[in-house]
Symmetry: C3
Subunit: 470 residues, 3 copies
């Protein structure tokens, strides 16, 4: 049975001199606490601290990074527990786990393989590569671990060395888990919410009128007109800030930010509420609202983050059956230079305003994103996102943005994950790759070793704290 | 005279450890048979097995990869025998060959240089780098070889170790050479046609009415109306399948697949036949037909391959004088996420349906193609095509797609060539580059050496057979 | 205090064998004269040969590569002397220099760091890395040097080994500095103008009528109608050619080249003069004029260069206060294949016509630019421009274009700089990176060492001379 033994020099370049430098750089930040300013971990796990039930419902069913390639390889999503109300029963969960282990080779060369190898080995003490032969033994081994106190969510949180963990939350959410954690004297960790208002900004959606009504209810504000709607958003932002939030996240098809006259926006709003706005008007309203959200950020200080350019739920039949976030959100192209101009005209040089732009479109790295962040004090380059949170892509990203914007204009790593157990592996991967990148600059005599070490510390520690106001 | 001696370690990375691993990996697949699922070799060469006449008409005149850069360097295409009805006469052929040898430096760093070095050396035993000084001697040397039985097409086919070779053919073609080969008891090779219906799907072309009439004649079907036209396509596909075809290839300006109502399609068809459809309608019809072709593939099993995003015959005067495929087909950008959505809504998860997407637009590798292939069981990532079938581009491609889609979702190599003698060099180049890529993953501890070896074998052997149903 | 000591092997790959080859290649071209066919040095500096006043006004205030990242880091542009009528006074200049030295770490990994390290060290003999601690000492050190004869512009020009330096000039400019230099018997250098007619081709600009009137005055031609306008352009081109110009440079939002009927162009011209043309007509006129400029180039021989795809003056408030070229010109995307087609239909194969395309949009390198230059004898691939004139970007560029177009179709290096003292560092950087690229091809056995050396010599010497007709 092939051994599973993540190498201490993994992800470092092969050249011996460069590798030594990378190793030393990595060593200097390896044990720094984890700062996770953006992700999708369920805060109830930590608030309730209930044990995870089984390997499949912990590691497979909720993680579309994992289920995607199994689906492409012919495993129906329902066999993997995707979108189910409750975890699969023991027999089905085992069967899903077996499929995963049998198909382990399809992950070769992907970060899923990398993350799993590290987390299976370092968290669960697994010593064999998954395969059809050992699938049941691994299942039993992990299941047994999950029943012990050391594997309950809070224990893992502490073991992972997480200093701060941001979740992603609906503006109408009461943030009960966050408040429960804050009020729990036995809990010292920092788990903060993130304001994610996407659905309230898209009047084209069928459920938008209901959504803004719910928002109004949560804000105790009448959202029958545009002013009330803005006020409701403002209040809920305040509520989030009062409960620890430092950022607001936005993910739409594009990032155009063309403002509308207030009367025009109010009119579209009114008509959209009764289902009487055109698709073009709904889009215009959303673009206008993106600038309005920047205005609110400039006022209340929430860092504005953008995750644009994704066509969600590409395969209709899968969406209808399994709901959103099932691995078939597919990137489109994005444009930043013209799209963000109206917003940046108004707030680009506003002190304290932070705009962090993430993208899955590599073509804007050197062409638009780095030039914008290299001039505007407000603009930061988000770490490679989603499909690009992977070793080669991260190397391409650093290569593409650094020469124009340096290191100080980058956000620091965000894991963006709902796979709680992958958090240490992901942050360590980022530190290793930054160490490798810096070591390469050193060995090409573009940077002193002292400069590289100082830079790496900033990337792991100061950058995310400063950019996300943590 | 500088020696021509392709190095045994060519294309491997310089780091000694990585190189050793790459060498061993390559060694393990070096002698596997060649599977060529897509290309443009003339099947008559093999059916008739007539000797090639001279170096120029074999290696230069028909190969726009070669003539392009000579043209850019000031050599008129007519001097190279491009587009001529018959091979150049001895004097002109020698002159063309001399121009090629004199301008040998313009190929530095291109795959043409690489392929030629390997094929001149390994097939023809040339031991000197081409130059003005040795042009005539090389011409004589190759000419002499071409008169021997060992250099006749069938002998080369066997020597190259080709297991299967797919050609590209017009749907109205009678496939006589393929049938002759199949029926020839002295011939054991597998040469299969590919159904390439582009011209029948573009009503905007002047000769479209004549083309569909010819198609109808070939299918013994009346194509006066849309139903007859579909039936003719269906019958010709069946004819191709009966003669060994396993795939249908499509190359249009874009890959939008928006379906039309049948009545609308029928109406456009009818009017287009009498030259009465607008350009927009012709485009709409073609996009509709792409989904129809997918429907037929889902039914009859022909693998659907796409080669989109090329503006053919960019320079009008050259096209008028020399015809198509003369080296001035220039890529545009393509979009896949929205364009393929209608097709994938219907057939994306249909068992047995295979869609292989090739592109010369690198921007979609990580952004669209790998995410699509990483979810849909039907979608495969085609090997780097045309301008991108080159060492650095192949490395960029593997780097861009693997982290999202792994190795199992890639097509395996296709040579896409009309340069028969370059086939072994091209397939070996691909094997070397895959070995180099995998060795790099091994040395960065992202993959075990056993996993790399298994993956490389799949890429050379299982992937093309499975993806192309060979 | 960390030492500033550019390493002799800087920018070479770490692998020892590759590094040795790169070093030898670089050595063979290190001392060749500098050919600078495109840049923005002020010719009056050389004509008048007045000493530079202080480090800030020489190295910071005029260089938006430098001020950009300081601005992003929170330093207001007015503190840096940007856009001021006169140099900052001593106190303010020192303060700006201190800000620069304190913020030195923001340049890590950028070419600004690289260029400065080399120029501070090799030109000014600085031996310490800039920092808050030594800012004043460095200021004094450089100020003192600037008062000596060795640091006057002409002395530096000679010391830098510049053989030819092209400036960028307005068509109505009288080129007095160029003529003064030419007529000065004590001056042997070659400083030539470049015809840059952008503002005369954009009828949408408010000052366009005044501009064409001024052009007419300079050309002694009545520009009241379209024919006179064309004639004025023709005469000014001739004037530039008579004063040494070999190229005409064009920078617009896109490079569409759709021709208009002469009557249509004349009509738009007439109405635009009285402010009566629509934005769409103004754009159509500019696109038409790009083909007209090609027609003039085909006639008078001026090399046509394109620098498209930039949204100038992105941040309105900054533009209003500080004027153009302040570091917030941000790239957009460009398209070449369809855009240049009309121009290339007419002039693509015209003997003697040269079209050099520069871009900040990496996506067209392999997809459009290399395929065009690999076929059309007139099209050359411009060296990586602006944000892309940096080590990693240059490596990506060579990797992206070489496999399709080889080396002979590339322009040779252009520095495009207004930072006079950075010229040697920039050209040497290019030579080092080309040496590194070629060494990598050698060590992968894709190129002989003799071929690499010959190629590098051409890139430094023959290519720019041939492409720019120097």
């Amino acid at each position: 049975m092939p051994a599973l033994q993540p190498h201490p020099d993994r992800l470092f370049p092969p050249d011996p001199v460069t590798r030594r430098i990378a190793r030393e750089l990595h060593h200097s930040v390896r044990d720094l606490p984890i700062v996770s300013p953006h992700g999708h971990v369920d805060p109830r796990w930590l608030a309730e601290d209930t044990p995870f039930s089984d390997p499949t419902s912990l590691l497979i069913s909720p993680d579309h990074y994992v289920t995607r390639l199994l689906h492409a390889s012919g495993i129906p999503l329902e066999h993997l527990g995707v979108g189910a109300r409750a975890p699969l029963d023991e027999g089905a969960a085992r069967k899903a786990w077996r499929a995963f282990c049998e198909l382990w080779p399809v992950y070769r060369g992907t970060p899923v393989q990398y993350w799993f190898e590290v987390e299976l080995s370092e968290i669960f003490g697994v010593r064999e590569r998954p395969s059809a032969d050992n699938a049941d033994a691994l299942y039993d081994h992990i299941s047994a671990a999950l029943t012990t106190p050391e594997f309950r969510p809070r224990a893992l949180f502490r073991r992972f060395g997480i200093e701060v963990l941001a979740t992603t939350d609906d503006p109408a959410d009461d943030l009960r888990p966050h408040r429960a954690l804050r009020d729990d004297p036995s809990w010292a960790g920092r788990v903060i919410p993130t304001f994610r208002p996407d659905r309230y900004l898209e009047p084209a959606a069928d459920d938008w009128p209901a959504a803004v009504a719910a928002l109004g209810a949560a804000a105790d504000t009448d959202t029958a007109d545009y002013r009330g709607y803005l006020e409701a958003l403002r209040r809920r932002r305040r509520y989030f800030i009062d409960n620890g939030a430092t950022s607001a996240d936005h993910s739409h098809a594009d990032v155009r930010t063309d403002p509308l006259e207030e009367a025009v926006a109010a009119d579209i709003y009114r008509r959209a509420l009764r289902g009487d706005a055109s698709a073009a008007e709904a889009t215009a309203f959303r673009r206008h609202m993106l600038t309005e959200m920047a205005a609110m950020s400039a006022e209340d200080g929430l860092v504005m983050t953008l995750h644009p350019g994704i066509l969600r739920n590409h395969h209709g039949p899968t969406f209808e059956r399994f709901g959103p976030d099932r691995g078939h959100d597919i990137p489109t192209g994005i444009e930043l230079t013209e799209a963000l101009r109206p917003l940046l005209q108004r707030f680009g040089t506003t002190p304290g305003f932070h705009l962090v732009v993430f993208t899955t479109d590599e073509t804007v790295f050197s062409r638009q994103l780095a030039p914008l962040a290299g001039f505007y004090p407000s603009v930061y380059i988000g770490a490679p996102w989603w499909f690009l949170d992977a070793p080669d892509a991260i190397a391409r990203w650093r290569s593409a943005v650094t020469e124009t914007a340096g290191f100080s204009r980058t956000s620091g790593f965000i894991d963006d994950t709902r796979a709680f157990c992958s958090i240490p592996a992901r942050h360590d991967m980022s530190r290793r790759l930054d160490a490798a990148h810096l070591a390469d600059l050193v060995v090409r005599h573009r940077l002193g070793e002292d400069e590289a070490a100082d830079t790496l510390h900033s990337l792991v520690s100061e950058n995310p704290r400063n950019v996300f106001k943590l």
